[in-house]
Symmetry: C2
Subunit: 335 residues, 2 copies
DNA sequence: CTGAAAGCGCTAACAC
DNA sequence: GTGTTAGCGCTTTCAG
């Protein structure tokens, strides 16, 4: 069952392919009558234009690559949804490319996207993208999302990672906590580095020392690391009285571990989480957490990209950063 | 910055395009030396083959369309991840198409996929797909996932919706509950119909009557409907002593409403949920729920599709249905 | 208003 | 072992 082409339609109507093409493109030179005939038979025969052929004639692809670590992470699902919803209206489709934070996979996906001449790429880059990735991306319109790596250009939409964690930590300090732990992602990621800097800045601002062994960094997408890190933190001779987490999945791991171990929150430990998921509100006493404008960020990104692609002009590369907000629930108390 | 073509490489090396093409395709007729030269300059010049051109020469697209209601629903995110992971190894890419359960959007996405000559389509169909959708899908290899509609062919991977809800209900009956409510999706969806049938069958098997006003059907993806339906159920003069839910998001809505209203679970109401999300374990007394093999289902589907596409033969259209399992926690108690 | 022909980048006959 | 040529489906001159 081979697809119908403009030639098939032309043959059926004793017209030239060019006439059929023009009729389908609603060219003003074609008589209304012919247009109607062509449109009707196209419909009848189940004609669907071949995008590959159009692309060969210079039409741009309508595919935008979305390169992310893992769609199961609700951050990325939210992003994918917002992008998809905002771009569909403009005829753009999203190609889903998961990297699992593996830079080889990342590079392969970019090769695929490049081969299909994607109109643009939206990427949450791995910690240290391969040179190949950098080269491929340089030849495509692209934006970085959430994370940024200097080698991948200026266009960027993200969250205010620094201020988010700084203010979470400052809030705990304001409640009288002097010994605070932090469980977050590695400094190799821009997000991990910024969030940790926020943590340290809040401590420094309050004149508190950095205590060794109270900042536990690991894979940001690992619930297990959340479990393990919390166990290690609570196993110390003098465990901290409060905790800040620096990623959604680490927060989840911490919440599970606190639940399973029966730790009294906030009596034994005050906790400020990262992100606000369904379930955070009803966890134990309710999780005090940083709510982050992920959907708004993605929508901004989509809007920018759409106009950027429409204008064909480069324009200024935006570097937009949105602030989070503290949602106070029962997991935090003063000392 | 226009992309490098085989002609550019040929010109640089004083070769014919066909030679370059063959070298890149590792054709045995080309000398190793020439191959090496071609490969090296291709690399140097940053050549990336043009998939559109290849497709015009009969190569099949490596794009598989994934048509789902909303990627933010963790069911669909899990599906997308499993499909993506299983297909990436075979060079297949996933095109994300969200319908929001709107059949016009569904039809438009299928037109796009058809225009880009997708290698296949994996679809969670809307309740009543448009004739256009049916026609377009008929011309593409495709599978239905989770939901099935008779007009869309035989190939199907899903969950055992009937047995899942039947056994959940039977479990509550076994605990002595005589008055049980059900909050689920509409019968227009195959899933909604099957789950409701499961509910009714369990009642009938136990000789219990269908009571009017205790089965509340609505949009399966609406947390709000979960809230509202539960309020209505508890507002009855003689509210049921137990509740079964028939979708993840309805379950979430119910959980939130129970939490907010301070309803005593399981004393005032026993609850069996649908699906098992992070947070279900730590909600109130822990949510007793049906755990569903969504990942396994998607992986099965991916494997089948990959071999189906490789073989080029139609083969038998599978109709696979996987069972759920009850996870017992604290939200259910006997009467 | 419509037709004929060229060409996008690539591959596959068909030469030599 | 390599070159020449044709053609995939479409748009776009250039002719009528």
């Amino acid at each position: 069952m081979t697809a119908i082409t403009t030639r098939d339609i032309a043959a059926r109507l004793n017209l030239a392919v060019s006439t059929v093409g023009r009729a389908l493109a609603d060219d003003p030179r074609i008589s209304e009558q012919t247009k109607a005939r062509v449109l009707r038979t196209a419909e009848e025969m189940g004609y669907v234009g071949n995008r590959a052929a159009r692309m060969m004639r210079g039409a741009s692809s309508n595919t935008v690559g979305l390169v992310i670590p893992d769609i199961r992470n609700s951050f990325y699902a939210t992003i994918a949804h917002e992008l998809s919803a905002n771009m569909a209206a403009h005829g753009l489709q999203l190609m889903l490319s998961e990297t699992a934070d593996d830079r080889t996979a990342e590079s392969q996906h970019l090769r695929e996207l490049s081969a299909s001449r994607a109109a643009a790429v939206i990427i949450v880059p791995t910690a240290e993208p391969l040179p190949d990735t950098v080269k491929l991306l340089a030849a495509l319109p692209h934006v970085q999302l959430l994370r940024r790596h200097p080698s991948l250009g200026q266009a960027y939409f993200g969250l205010d990672d620094f201020e988010t964690v700084r203010s979470a930590t400052a809030f705990l300090i304001g409640q009288g906590h002097m010994s605070i732990g932090y469980i977050g992602g590695p400094v190799e990621l821009s997000t991990g580095a910024e969030r940790l800097r926020g943590f340290h800045t809040a401590l420094a601002d309050a004149g508190l020392p950095k205590k060794a062994g109270t900042t536990l960094l690991g894979p940001p997408a690992s619930v297990d690391h959340g479990h393990a890190a919390l166990r290690r933190l609570l196993g110390r001779t003098a465990p901290p009285t409060a905790l800040v987490t620096g990623s959604v999945l680490l927060t989840l791991g911490v919440m599970e571990e606190l639940h399973d171990s029966g730790t009294k929150v906030p009596d034994e430990l005050s906790v400020v989480g990262f992100g606000d998921e369904p379930g955070f509100a009803w966890w134990g006493p309710g999780l005090t957490t940083m709510r982050l404008p992920v959907a708004a960020m993605a929508a901004d990104c989509a809007r920018w990209l759409v106009t950027r692609l429409a204008e064909k002009s480069d324009g200024a590369s935006p570097s937009v950063v949105l602030p989070g907000e503290l949602v106070q629930r029962g997991s935090t108390a003063g000392r």
